[in-house]
């Protein structure tokens, strides 16, 4: 409402300023005389009012400009805050993904640590017994297992830290898929989930962010694992192929499927069908956003009780560049 009143005042002042200016025009003077509207005011008196009106107009205009600058600064701050919030949301969702699969990560680290500790203990005993020739084998096992644990720890660090989120590079999707399995391939196997890789060998590169894309696959694998918990047939198929201008990845499970009434909500933020404390409801919404940022699409085909198939399409690098260039 305040803006409407300000608008009316602005038009009124503008009219009052323009009116004497127009009075210089003869035709307007004639019109002026004909109307007799300002019969008690001489034209010359209007010219005295003119600078005063201009003064007020300039003041008013100044205030408006100041407000516009203030609003634009406020908009910039809000936009920056929104960017930070979005980045924090992506980070939170990433950490939540790690949280959801932490048991698997712990197992993947504890197993090599178990071997290292045992090999060291056995080596000490062999050393006491003077069986030095048998120690070498154990030391080699320690080295291999240290490397195994460090791959997992380093990858966890790489995945969790904030840096590199902006980094765009040529990405081999198959490599990202394989890296996504580092954390919990053993866990899937322990849960008797049969994982089938049908990855095309001649897949073109896409342009994107490796960590973000890995986050998408981890979310999909984690959801599939959850959907397969109570299924008699536990199978997860990951397919990659190239069709037209797109690299396509399908993540298909034989799990419980998605009920029809919630299918339209699965990409909404904070929507989850997991037990309280088990899911944040951010995984798929963040995945959707990430794929959108890669100029791709993500969709789902699902039948309750039979399973789900998530389909991701990402433009291959050359097409991607063309889209960027308009």
């Amino acid at each position: 409402m305040g803006r409407i009143i300000k608008g009316i005042i602005f038009i009124a002042i503008l009219g009052a300023v323009l009116f004497p200016v127009l009075c210089w025009i003869d035709a307007f003077e004639l019109l002026w005389e004909w109307t007799g509207f300002y019969e008690n005011i001489e034209i010359d008196e209007l010219f005295i009012l003119f600078p005063i009106l201009v003064f007020f107009f300039v003041i008013f205009l100044g205030l408006q400009v100041k407000e516009i600058i203030y609003l634009s600064q406020k908009l910039q701050v809000s936009s920056d805050e929104l960017k930070v919030s979005q980045s924090q949301l992506v980070q939170s969702a990433k950490l939540a993904s790690v949280g959801e699969m932490i048991a698997a990560v712990v197992h993947e680290i504890n197993n090599p640590l178990g071997v290292i500790n045992m090999a060291a203990d056995v080596s000490l005993i062999l050393h006491e017994q003077g069986k030095y020739d048998l120690i070498e084998e154990h030391l080699r096992a320690i080295k291999v297992q240290t490397k195994r644990a460090s791959v997992i720890v380093n990858h966890l660090l790489e995945f969790c830290r904030d840096a590199g989120l902006e980094k765009q590079e040529d990405v081999d999707i198959n490599e990202v898929i394989n890296k996504s399995f580092i954390f919990f391939s053993k866990d899937l196997s322990n849960k008797n989930i049969k994982v089938i890789h049908e990855l095309s060998e001649d897949l073109p590169l896409v342009n994107g962010n490796v960590i973000e894309l890995e986050q998408v696959f981890i979310n999909l694998f984690s959801n599939a694992e959850n959907a397969l918990r109570s299924s008699s047939e536990k199978q997860l198929t990951v397919r990659s192929f190239h069709r037209g201008c797109f690299v396509i990845v399908e993540v298909e499970d034989t799990g419980c499927g998605i009920p029809f009434n919630v299918k339209s909500k699965i990409f909404d933020s904070f929507f989850t069908t997991k037990e309280k404390g088990e899911g944040t409801g951010l995984g798929l919404s963040i995945s959707y956003k990430i794929i959108q940022n890669h100029k791709g699409t993500i969709g789902v085909e699902s039948e309750e009780g039979k399973g789900s198939k998530f389909i991701i399409q990402i433009p291959v690098m050359k097409v991607h560049e063309n889209i960027d260039n308009g």
């Binding site: 993947e108 504890n110 197993n111 178990g114 045992m118 203990d121 056995v122 005993i125 196997s189």
Partner: protein, 124 residues
Amino acid sequence: MKILIMDDEPLILKLLGNYLTMLNHQVVPVSNGKKGLELFLEDPETFDLIITDFKMSGLDGISVVARLKDEGYDVPVVFISGYGMADKKEVTQNLKIVAVLDKPFDLEELNEVLSLVETHENKQ
């Protein structure tokens, strides 16, 4: 003692097997629960102890032990786990489990458990 070891981590299986052999135990190492169960059921009375991984692909350790209990076998069991299970008492309920050792565990911890089992065996 005759000990059945079940773990799908080959190096754990090998190292543990070697160590227990060094201690003059008779070791039967297997990499999965199904094979372990079969071997145990072939000659159940001869086994003094089962050392098993908690989770394995196929038939996991806890399912094997539950199955043995259902069939009336009362063999002592030591669980080893990479999931941090030692403080989860519900795992050991209703099953004759001597100990749950979280990976990485020291062989000294295992020695204590073995002494406990041997003492118990001798008393019987």
